[in-house]
Symmetry: C2
Subunit: 513 residues, 2 copies
Amino acid sequence: MEFAPNNVANLESTTLDGDSAYDLLCARFRRILLLGDVESVLHWDLAVMMPDGGAGDRTEQLAVLQTTRHGLLAAPDMGDLLDRAATEDPDPWRAANLRGMRRMWIHAAALPEDLVEARGRAASACERAWRAARPADDFRAVLPYLEDLLSRTREVAAAKAERLGVDPYDALLDEYEPDARAADIDRLFADLRTFLPPFLDRVLARQAAAPPPPRPEGPFPIARQEALGRRLMECLGFDFAHGRLDVSLHPFCGGTVDDVRITTRYDEADFTSALMGVLHETGHALYDRGLPREGRHQPIGLPLGMSIHESQSLLIEMQVCRSRRFLDFAAPLIARELGGTGPAWTAESLHRWYTRVIPGPIRVDADEVTYPAHVMLRYDLERALIAGTMEAADLPEAWTTGMHRLLGVVPPSDREGCLQDIHWYDGAWGYFPTYTLGAMTAAQLFAAARDADPAIESAISDGDFAPLLAWLRGHVHGLGSRHTAAEMLTRTTGRPLETAPFKAHLERRYLGD
Amino acid sequence: MEFAPNNVANLESTTLDGDSAYDLLCARFRRILLLGDVESVLHWDLAVMMPDGGAGDRTEQLAVLQTTRHGLLAAPDMGDLLDRAATEDPDPWRAANLRGMRRMWIHAAALPEDLVEARGRAASACERAWRAARPADDFRAVLPYLEDLLSRTREVAAAKAERLGVDPYDALLDEYEPDARAADIDRLFADLRTFLPPFLDRVLARQAAAPPPPRPEGPFPIARQEALGRRLMECLGFDFAHGRLDVSLHPFCGGTVDDVRITTRYDEADFTSALMGVLHETGHALYDRGLPREGRHQPIGLPLGMSIHESQSLLIEMQVCRSRRFLDFAAPLIARELGGTGPAWTAESLHRWYTRVIPGPIRVDADEVTYPAHVMLRYDLERALIAGTMEAADLPEAWTTGMHRLLGVVPPSDREGCLQDIHWYDGAWGYFPTYTLGAMTAAQLFAAARDADPAIESAISDGDFAPLLAWLRGHVHGLGSRHTAAEMLTRTTGRPLETAPFKAHLERRYLGD
């Protein structure tokens, strides 16, 4: 073994004599967020590189990092430091950074250490049980674990609700989407609940009137799919000096701001899904890469909540890359890289493939028209479960009933029903609505971008994404958490989040000429 | 982006009410060592996966982990806890674990935080300067950085020497090789200094009397070299459910006990070096994998110092895999995997290739006969530099003079002279002697293994390494740090470390029939 270099620079002090409370807080949060970055790299490694036998070690490494981070965040003097810093220089940048610090502190300090521990254990046990129960289609096997985890999650919700002064469900939502409230989501979703069912009927009727598009015939070697994906990532502005593309079972975007790592999974028989998945994750990656350098390793330099993050992936995937304009540019390139010829490879055919609408039981396979129904089902159920008006044992029946009511689909099994998603079984409650909030946000932002600069859309036809990226950097990415999500959206689009741009997008794409 | 699972089990408490001082210490060291494992994974990622643009982030992540670990280790109450634990139950296992804890604590607590920081910065700056200076063959460019780093290293040596009650150089040596002392090394090296020069002359004369062995002709595709390496790794007992083989610029063995990651670098024109490199790192990996489960994440479960670690790689590489017995088994497999035919691919030819002796200026290219001269040169120089009887500016001349005196070789440049190794430029002083101590230990251990069970050596001819691995597990790997290196060697071989087995090995291999 050659000697492995070990020394690193910038060892920071934990105490900074003579500095302001704000400076002390910045040093602490820098440490906390760097430890979070470390966790992110370890999660990537776990999903992409780690041999199975490393799972035990990795679980313990992540637990120690979490404990260390929680300990720093919930330190006894943190509240006092935050109060002192609030009385110092009221510069707006600092104020925004302090707001982010306080929010992280409240979420951490709201929970006694034994509850953090108990929830962590319950989630870990439930997630393991789910991994076995899902392929076996055995909801009863995971139920006791889910009941335990739900009970811990209700405790967490109650504790955080008290500190935040909000309802228990809102307290969970706030972990993923700061300042979001179920009352606002209810209003937006109510509109979609009215709009979508008749809209879906019209789309399906129109779709049925034409023969299905010809299907590109495989096999498509993985190396060529990957080369194609990398080529299009670069077109969109992804810099491989600051990121990677790899393979994992569940696609995700991880890593750190200067080293963004996205993953996909390939199917030799069908390139379409992996390709669009790569472009989706590229949208996430571009957001992370564009975060403000001057806020690095501070709360203000973090991305906004999950709905804004999802809006950036959906803006690239749904608004841009499934558009006819994009496919006019990309179809010849796709055909060339994959060696395809004939009518299935035209921009028109690929566009028809990429905008098919098919109601089905699986969320991750859903198109953008039926996706909100999947989200609203989960949103309704998790609110009832957290409120205690429903119990975990009722899930299979409630799921089947709800799916049928919302989308006319009856899942053939729990595996394709209430067992399909990892979220609840891993302790993520309050996460689901951010998918549809993200889709709506994407439509609203892209409409504003087109209005602001018509060259953005025309350049896409030429494969030039620089105008779009410049606009996103200036209006979304580069702001980090300088404003709340609602403020950012209002500043950028002139309006708070609303359903109109999303509905207009759907109507134009699915019922337009 | 799909939701990334985040919850993990086993969140540990930092205080364990009612537990003994020893239990408290175990919880702390578990955390400290797990953070060390995290650093190891990040180092692997840096060398194998990370895009160049991630370097800045990674440096800061590692710095925060180091600071956190140092803070835990040098906590104000640690000395008191160690003293209290020493008065509790004197179980030998606990005593050995406590000895390891105390050693780690002394090394950490000996240094004031500003010195840790200053050394870290100086090493980081010097290592960067060296990366530019080496290819440019420009020692003067790195000299100011080296002078600064040497000055910090002398301070570190002095501070640790005082706490350990040893000489400054021994204090540095102790970081890599616990309890080793220069006085003992001097005695062993003096014997080699007498033995090796006339021995080398005899070997070279004998080698010159025969024509050189025929050389396997490439190119050798990397995929086939890798498949061959993996095949032989598995034969030796490497379990790919608990490890990986990858590519990096500088080969190393990293990761954790349950997830050992080795690397190599391939040359399409010459497979011999990468293949032996893979087997060398496999020796390191087998040691890590065999450490005692019951000492996991405790000092007693750690490998002994670098000389024992290197002995495990050299036992596999030098004692086993460069032997005629091993090549009798492996040559047909090598020829088959790489598609080789003809006289260059016989066990005899490959054995001659793998035991060629060629004095040259580069340590990492050296054979086992000339390697000790490279080590002794560096050992002499670093002792003089730490003692202050020589200055960094004198290095180029002293290096050239010493290399000529020890091996009759004059390096054509500083790049092939005092700039060739990263160690000093990265702050690793006191590391070099462990290479030759490891070579001697390997010979002594393998001789003991053969004596203990003659089946060990005969099985190797059949490609059966189970008897060897079982012996190593029982006598070396499975002991972890239960005993000191010197105690382990005396228990296992009946003798403290000595030169005789190494000299006997060289004589048998290079001058035997």
